[in-house]
Symmetry: C2
């Protein structure tokens, strides 16, 4: 339910949106499996960690896990866990945290029944109807961040859209975070969490953006990070150490197993969920070993591969089931949870819409706190699409509006209007309607409800073609959110300094 509901304001372009607002789901979460089944998954995953164990590439991480009593095999780097030790380590973790945005009006709290939508991160490709699918560039990345800033339904800039592939990979993360911190005033999530050094850059740029000390940042987190395991049962050194940095700095971080059933996990939803749970728990334990009480939380990405083609399938029944069960697991541990808005579609068509909608519905019904890739993800996450971003904004706005309370006051019901219209009459002209005319119903970003002839005469454009016009209009209308010039200079100086350090010869 939107906490703050104010009238919709048209932007200068005439593109109407609901206002930015924290979102809470007032409905009870769907419980797809029984409490006993939740315990069965929990105990099976403890057996995995006891009997098979997790391979941990990072010596730092192995040391931390050894220190808390895990069984570390020095040769194989496999770490095995005593179930009682896991049970003990997963207590006392915050069930809620706040990500402070540069604009305090865009600060959001994560946990309980809160829903946070973040734009896509990770794709190397970018696409739009005009230029097709191509390698991402700095310009595309900056445009995507601007659109993330402009679309109210997204609570977080989720990772700067596409990679700017023309820039050096060693320092690309700095350019992306500079865009995120200066072109957008929302909370943000970094894309590059694959070394301790890059994680420290994330944290430092959050500190600068918010103009706080390290201690203050620890008390009032300013960035939300996440890592993946290399499923099955492998945690690479860079991701482990990035997570350790986040935990020590008090910045929320999720551990998200990459459990595609049939390839990186057993070819069943149940098996993949057990393995996901095992890997997530091991990651949470590592985070706690690094800093007890740090806001480390539960990540979901479980889907399956299509056994015919080997391609990952997203937005499927198995995906939706695994989202909702993962929500149950996270609640069992009292942890917030992330998942994603996914599709395997190759273009922005009906399939992209229904797979994303399936994902979004599962996330909302399952009380997923952080929906990553909520806007712009296409083609299994390989491509960041501008038209998909607009489509997703509509899908998410629709779901947000669905959670609005229904006004059942006498004034809203309007028995007087029914008497005024009378049997066989109409309501267009009743006082009740005239009072509510402008703001009575959901106002779409993308949907076109004009009659067929009008729609046809206006070019017979599909939703995807209309989305193309909308993102371009939003870019034309974009106004950079206010930022203290001193803060911007400090961020730029940090990026310049780090580029010199990382690539001294360049």
């Amino acid at each position: 339910m939107a906490r703050r509901r104010t009238p919709r304001k048209p932007r200068t372009s005439g593109i109407t949106q609901r206002p930015f607002a924290e979102l809470h789901n007032p409905l009870r979460p769907v419980e797809l499996i029984s409490a006993d089944q939740v315990e069965a998954i929990h105990h099976a995953s403890l057996r995995v960690l006891r009997d098979i164990g997790l391979k941990v590439d990072s010596a730092v991480a192995r040391q931390l896990l050894g220190d808390i009593g895990a069984n570390v095999d020095a040769d194989s780097h496999i770490v095995r866990f005593d179930p009682a030790q896991i049970e003990e380590m997963i207590t006392g973790i915050p069930s809620e945290f706040t990500i402070h945005a540069r604009n305090p009006a865009k600060t959001v709290t994560v946990g309980g029944n809160s829903l946070t939508f973040a734009t896509v991160c990770g794709p190397s490709f970018v696409s739009d109807l005009d230029r097709g699918r191509r390698a991402g560039t700095l310009q595309d990345m900056q445009d995507f961040v601007k659109l993330s800033a402009s679309l109210n339904v997204f609570h977080h800039e989720g990772g700067a859209g596409c990679e700017p592939l023309e820039l050096p990979p060693e320092t690309r993360h700095l350019d992306m975070m500079l865009a995120q911190t200066t072109l957008c005033d929302k909370g943000w999530q970094p894309c590059w969490m694959n070394t301790a050094e890059r994680a420290r850059d994330c944290i430092e740029m959050a500190r600068i953006a918010l103009q706080v000390s390290e201690d203050e940042l620890r008390q009032r987190p300013g960035i939300l990070g996440g890592i993946n395991t290399n499923s099955p049962l492998l945690l690479d050194d860079g991701q482990a150490e990035a997570m350790i940095e986040f935990a020590r700095a008090g910045q929320p971080v999720h551990i998200t197993p990459f459990t595609l059933a049939g390839a990186m996990a057993p070819a069943t939803v149940g098996g993949a969920l057990v393995q996901q749970n095992a890997e997530a728990l091991a990651g949470v334990v590592l985070g706690q070993a690094a800093c007890r009480g740090a806001p480390v939380f539960y990540g979901h990405f479980t889907s399956n591969v299509d056994m015919k083609t080997g391609s990952p399938a997203f937005g499927t029944p198995e995906y939706a089931q695994s989202v909702m069960v993962s929500g149950q697991m996270a609640r069992r541990y009292g942890l917030p949870i992330r998942s994603s808005n996914t599709t395997g579609a190759a273009c922005v068509d009906a399939q992209a819409a229904y797979e994303s909608d399936m994902s979004i519905n599962a996330c909302i019904q399952g009380h997923i706190n952080v929906m990553m890739h909520a806007g712009g993800w296409l083609e299994g996450g390989l491509t960041c699409s501008f038209e998909k971003l607009i489509l997703d904004a509509e899908l998410l706005q629709l779901q947000s509006a669905l959670l609005d309370p229904i006004d059942l006051s006498d004034a809203a019901i309007g028995l007087d209007a029914m008497a005024e219209a009378g049997p066989g009459g109409h309501f267009f002209g009743t006082a009740h309607t005239l009072e509510r005319y402008e703001d009575a119903f959901y106002s779409p970003i993308l949907s076109d409800w004009r009659n067929f002839e009008t729609w046809q005469d206006d070019g017979a454009r599909t939703a995807t073609q209309r989305a193309n016009g909308i993102w371009k209009q939003l870019l034309r209308d974009y106004e950079k959110p206010p930022i203290d010039p001193g803060v911007e200079e400090e961020l730029e100086a940090y990026v310049a300094k780090r580029k010199r350090e990382i690539r001294p010869g360049s």
Copy 2:
């Protein structure tokens, strides 16, 4: 949850589908409003019927309502109801009924947590990618009925798709029902419920198709009908009398108010729901006045008009809210409920997908027993689309699969497979995967998960373009379900006789 789950069988075309199966939703229905609010809607609607009343055009219906003590104004034809009388009349109505299909394997029970999906009825236009949007013809109607028969996810032939506009309107219903009863062996729902005479034709053709007596048909219903009110608060004579015929023949019939908020109902969801409830209750009371204990049930169609264009809006947050609250109202009365899969989109694009998906999700979460227009509805119901039928089949199959139980047996979880794959390994070759290879995951009708390059090399077809190929393939593969030649002759003879009676000169 699918009661019977058998392996998917590819059709000769290679188009794989889940088998025909009754569907039950094992999850608890979403309660969008409180029990107190449900009572508030109930009592407000009783006040509407007491103070404003319903205009009833039919003298037969007014007589029946007068006989049970309603206050009938002889001049205005407005009927007002004592709340206690309504409370008394809405008891003792069946909360569940069975529609017996010509093929007993396709008989379904309606009520409780059952979900029945029926194809579209009502459109005058038909469309496909090859021929565009055009007036419906006999050939289109027959093709649509064949596809309804071929797509397992649809439980009922819902109304023969489009009108065959080249045929005389007086006898068109006979041609449509002949197609429904002979080209399809599923349960069916007639499109033309606007006179008592046509209703009797429906019932008689159901009786012939099932080869039962009138009394046997009453005990084992063979057709599911429905009428609309002419909102606000008007019941026309033809629909009222058609409903009376159904009630007297013991055939299930729903009363569905046409409450588009802002035009035919107050410009609020709450007001439209109260008015819908009032009109539905009045209709149910009339059905009980005609035949106490007849299976008369609750209909939902409430949506809103777009106040900017005056066009109806479908698949919106308001629509979804009204679906779920209507489910609550029907459960309060212990009645089955119908709703619809709707969209206002003008073509089969992402909007058509997400609006339909929003509708379908609301229906499933709200435990809507009969989803009318579940396949093929486009453009606010003006057009029956062949590509939309395929899209809807996929959307419904996805939702059906989501309700499958998750196997959490030890065998399914496969700790042995995790040990076999080991950290960093893969599951493709494990015994666990090989055992499950063919039937492990959801197999789509329409979705394409191939990688971008393969998809592009194969023509870069959107889901809508692929749907075009699928319905044509299904038509090529169509095999007429077995029918006793004598039964078919009897149906044809009835149609011929009635045509001579209705249009004696032709």
